[in-house]
């Protein structure tokens, strides 16, 4: 379910590092909690994000939820497809439903995040 080459946060974001850039999205658990997603507010390309700064807002029919930067860095790209098809986040949260691509500033921030195994354990704890 949760890819081994991703890292995860307690707020249910994922990050996939490739070279000095990283894709960021929300996890399958998060999309399931939100329900039908209808709108994703995207940041401007070029924006500098501090660690834990809100980078996007995801609206489902019933609620609205912030997505926080798992690491600090500059936004180098956003997933423009979400403007028309926000439900990609529901359908393919770990793939086509990515939200932004960041320039990694400090690799140590990535190392501090949860592995897939850690995240799955963390989710088990939430259900009890």
């Amino acid at each position: 379910m949760y890819p081994n080459d991703f890292r995860y946060t307690k707020e249910h974001e994922w990050i996939k590092v490739a070279g000095d850039e990283a894709l960021v999205g929300i996890t399958d658990f998060a999309q399931h909690q939100l329900g039908d997603i209808i709108y994703v507010e995207l940041p401007p390309v070029g924006k500098e994000l501090a660690l834990r700064q809100s980078l996007s807002v995801v609206e489902s029919v019933k609620s609205v939820s912030d997505v926080y930067a798992p690491i600090s860095g500059q936004v180098v790209a956003v997933n423009d497809e979400l403007a028309q098809t926000a439900d990609l986040v529901n359908k393919d949260p770990h793939g086509k439903g990515w939200i932004v691509r960041l320039k990694v500033k400090d690799k140590k921030e990535v190392d501090g995040l949860m592995t897939a195994g850690d995240y799955e354990k963390f989710l088990e704890g939430l259900e009890h």
């Binding site: 507010e41 029919v61 019933k62 403007a83």
Partner: protein, 364 residues
Amino acid sequence: MKKTRFNELHKKLGGKMIEFCGWEMPVEYSGIIPEHMAVRTRAGLFDVSHMGEVLITGKQALAYVQWLTPNDAARLAPGQVQYTALMTPESTFVDDMLVYCIGPEEYFLVVNAANVDKDFAWIAGHTKGFDVEVENQSDGYSQLALQGPLAEKMLQPLTGIDLAGMKSFHWAKGKVVGKDCLVSRTGYTGEDGFEIYTTDPDPGIIWTTLIENGTPLGLLPIGLGARDTLRLESKLMLYGNDISDKTTVLEADLKWIVKLQKGDFLGRPVVEKQLAEGLKRKLAGFELAEPGVARPHYPVYVKGQKVSEVASGTFSPLLKKAIGLVYLPIEATAVGTEFEIEIRTKRIKARVIPTPFYKRADKK
């Protein structure tokens, strides 16, 4: 938390349970959008047992209902139902409700879950001078709603009541899946459909039989999430959002439930005053002109001035746009008027549009 008699069945169907007005209720099963569309195109089954039921009986039952409400209950024959309000002397809302005429000395009131205790205290507290008895029967009742264009087709094989012969806002008593029920052609979705009341202590078989028989025809169980999007598309009021003890019946754009020719009733002098002087504000429907969703309590600006907050607001699964209701200064309520809603830190353009946002084509 209180549980309805269908609680375990919701959990078996994968209902996501939340606390609502002290009740553990399903907010969604398969998702708000698929549930919403099932009701618009096929049918949906709701557990609405959290609603309250109050019985008024006695020689002056009709006179008392007439005193408490602005609509004309004298127009009801036994077998008919009416949408009306419990009104304060200020012509604001204690609640909105359905009144069922059971007989000339018997009226059955169905009120909102959030207001049951307050409503009953209000109803029991104003009986002075009326020869009536009032009884809060809420705990004894379970209520299901079967809503959607296929509702009649799904329910008819399970009941001896002639549903084809039942007009909108009419009711009849009879068996449903062998259980004694009161069935009315009413609902809170804007679709054709029925509300099924029973005092049977073990009514689960009604739910399970409807689900089993209806599923092949596209029936889905529906949670509170889609109940809200469905009612808002049809501009059906939600107490606490669109109407309250701070909003008058005329401001809520519910003049059609006010029948002045019927005689005196609580709040009437304020209604007459507002009719004579005109309204300062009114509930209007809007759509967003930009992407986003305007949710309740978001600040609303007309010509740069904060005038109110969003009353109800959501994404309409049918119209695929953000819609809502808001109290606007009367001069800003004309269709086409543009104003702004603050969504997080940005002011987003909105415009007044005609309501209801959705009306079914075959309305009976």
